[in-house]
């Protein structure tokens, strides 16, 4: 609105989202070119899709009458295994990620330790759970141990990174006050740093528990234990009602965990 005379007599127009005109056009043209190319190269067998619609309807109907009973033994076993993997891996992951988070906070750790810890975090974050699970199943054999190790490994990257960021943004004055009272390093961490980041640590841990449960549901696909194997078998046999039952259970548990984590986070913060 610098020069009002140029605006007088012209109707107002909404300012564009991308200010620079050439950039706007380049983005628009490039994006539409990409979309056209993508749609041209994507192969969709529409006949197959059309045939499948009937099965899709069956599946959706299966949600109205999920079958918990006929495979209840398998479902129960898989669920317990998933939950056990989730809890154990969250505990181990949190215990390991606390020292790594301390090492990855620049205001606490010296540079060499900082770099080592940051690279551990980067590796853990770059590898997806399922790929780690494939490798660990190849190394440790089938079973929940591989899933447990996978989830612990993934927890380290997630929790350490967020916790380290919280430690880096803490109030230095409090930590300094503890140091000025003549505290040793361990006391300094325990009384100066830990109380400041504790609420966040608890919140993140609960959140990670929630994520770990969701992930544990798919690890069974590659043989790493949990409900995923049962689910996969149900799909392979076209037993949609059993699959629907398992999916409903997963959704209910995730919702319950989310609700719980909401309460816990509200209480500690």
């Amino acid at each position: 609105m610098s020069d009002i005379s140029t605006h007088i007599g012209k109707p107002w127009k909404k300012p564009p989202f991308v200010q620079r005109a050439w950039l706007r056009w380049v983005l628009l043209i490039g994006f539409s070119a990409y979309l056209i190319a993508a749609f041209l190269t994507i192969e969709v067998n529409w006949m197959r899709v059309y045939e499948g619609l009937d099965r899709g309807k069956q599946f959706i109907l299966a949600f109205t009458s999920p079958d918990f009973s006929s495979r209840s033994g398998d479902i129960w076993e898989g669920m317990i295994e998933s939950i056990i993997m989730t809890v154990a891996s969250s505990v181990v992951g949190i215990i390991i990620s606390i020292p790594i988070a301390l090492g990855a906070a620049r205001n606490i750790a010296p540079l060499p330790i900082y770099l080592i810890c940051r690279s551990i975090i980067a590796i853990s974050r770059a590898l997806q759970e399922i790929i780690v699970a494939i490798l660990l199943v190849a190394i440790f054999g089938f079973g929940p141990l591989a899933g447990f190790l996978t989830l612990s490994f993934a927890t380290i990257g997630f929790l350490s990174k967020l916790l380290a960021e919280d430690i880096e943004s803490m109030d230095r004055v409090q930590a300094e006050a503890i140091k000025a009272s003549g505290a040793k390093w361990a006391q300094w961490i325990n009384y100066g740093v830990q109380p400041q980041v504790m609420p966040r640590l608890i919140g993140l841990s609960i959140y990670r528990l929630d994520i770990n449960f969701r992930e544990s549901a798919i690890l069974g696909l590659v043989g790493a234990g949990g409900i995923g194997a049962t689910l996969n078998t149900a799909f392979d046999r076209y037993e949609y009602d059993t699959a629907a039952a398992i999916l409903l259970l997963i959704i209910v548990i995730v919702m319950a965990l989310e609700y719980l984590s909401g309460i816990v986070r509200e209480r500690v913060q």
Partner: protein, 271 residues
């Protein structure tokens, strides 16, 4: 302030004795649960294989290095498919997520009692099931291929995008909406001029953020047969072609890092 008397001297304590007792009980229960879980895992593990693991890991490592670089010529199309799955999936998800988000936000929903819970249910149920499971399901329904992957990514992303978007809508500045209303704008004009401009930056940020996650997820969708580079990975794994596996893993790693870099750059430019 909790204080303990010791030979007539007052010593500062961090917690009262009641609090520390509570702490001990909680810790005890936690440790007991963990011990039980560990026992269960340990019971269903063949420990002989675990003790053998270092040798196996070493064996796999020697087989997998060096990666078979010449195989990269066959990875062009799978990478393109992976990119398409992620991008088209994100676009479809956004198209579906926008109405859901507006129906779920407290300040724009037409009905709080009926429509808002339904929208929230859609958000929760699509969000809590992993894209691999959605892919598994869609493959059983519409057959294997890239299309199943696109749909799996799209369905999985609806909940995520809609959740972040409705939170952004709930946080808008009401005074701007009021100003537009005061000019006599219709319901849709209020939407277009009062609400949309406020949430557009958040929307763009969410789109790019989810695209980054989707690139990550679409690289492994092929494991269950939904197209992309994961298909190559699973076929290489099935024939134990470890040099190809290591090359594919490197390519996936590069794709993940590049997409993360792109999304960080774009989000930096928006915010």
């Amino acid at each position: 302030m909790p204080v303990k008397d010791l030979n007539d001297q007052k010593i500062w304590r961090r917690r009262t004795s009641r609090e520390s007792l509570m702490h001990w009980v909680i810790w005890l229960i936690g440790v007991a649960i963990f011990a039980y879980c560990w026992q269960k895992i340990s019971a269903s593990t063949t420990w002989f294989f675990v003790w053998d693991a270092p040798r196996i890991a070493d064996d796999i490592w020697t087989r997998a290095t060096p990666p078979k670089w010449s195989y990269i010529t066959q990875l062009g199309k799978p990478i393109w498919d992976t990119l398409n799955i992620a991008t088209l999936g994100t676009i479809f998800a956004l198209i579906a997520a926008v109405p859901v988000a507006f129906l779920a936000a407290r300040n724009t929903t037409p009905s709080r009692l009926v429509i808002r819970p339904i929208a929230l249910l859609i958000i929760v149920s699509t969000r809590s099931i992993n894209s691999l499971i959605w892919a598994l399901l869609l493959i059983a329904i519409i057959g294997p291929g890239v299309f199943a992957g696109v749909m799996a990514i799209a369905i999985r992303s609806i909940g995520f995008c809609a959740k972040l978007l409705y939170e952004a809508i709930e946080e808008i500045d009401e005074t701007q909406v009021e100003a537009i209303t005061a000019t006599g704008a219709s319901r849709w004009q209020i939407m277009a001029y009062g609400i949309v401009p406020q949430v557009l930056p958040a929307f763009a940020g969410i789109a790019v953020f989810r695209w980054d996650i989707n690139i990550r997820e679409s690289t492994v969708l092929g494991l269950v047969g939904a197209g992309g580079i994961g298909l190559q990975l699973s076929s290489s794994l099935n024939v134990l072609a470890w040099p190809q596996v290591s090359l594919i893993l490197l390519v996936i790693l590069a794709a993940v890092i590049i997409s993360e870099w792109v999304s960080a750059k774009v989000r930096g430019a928006i915010i």
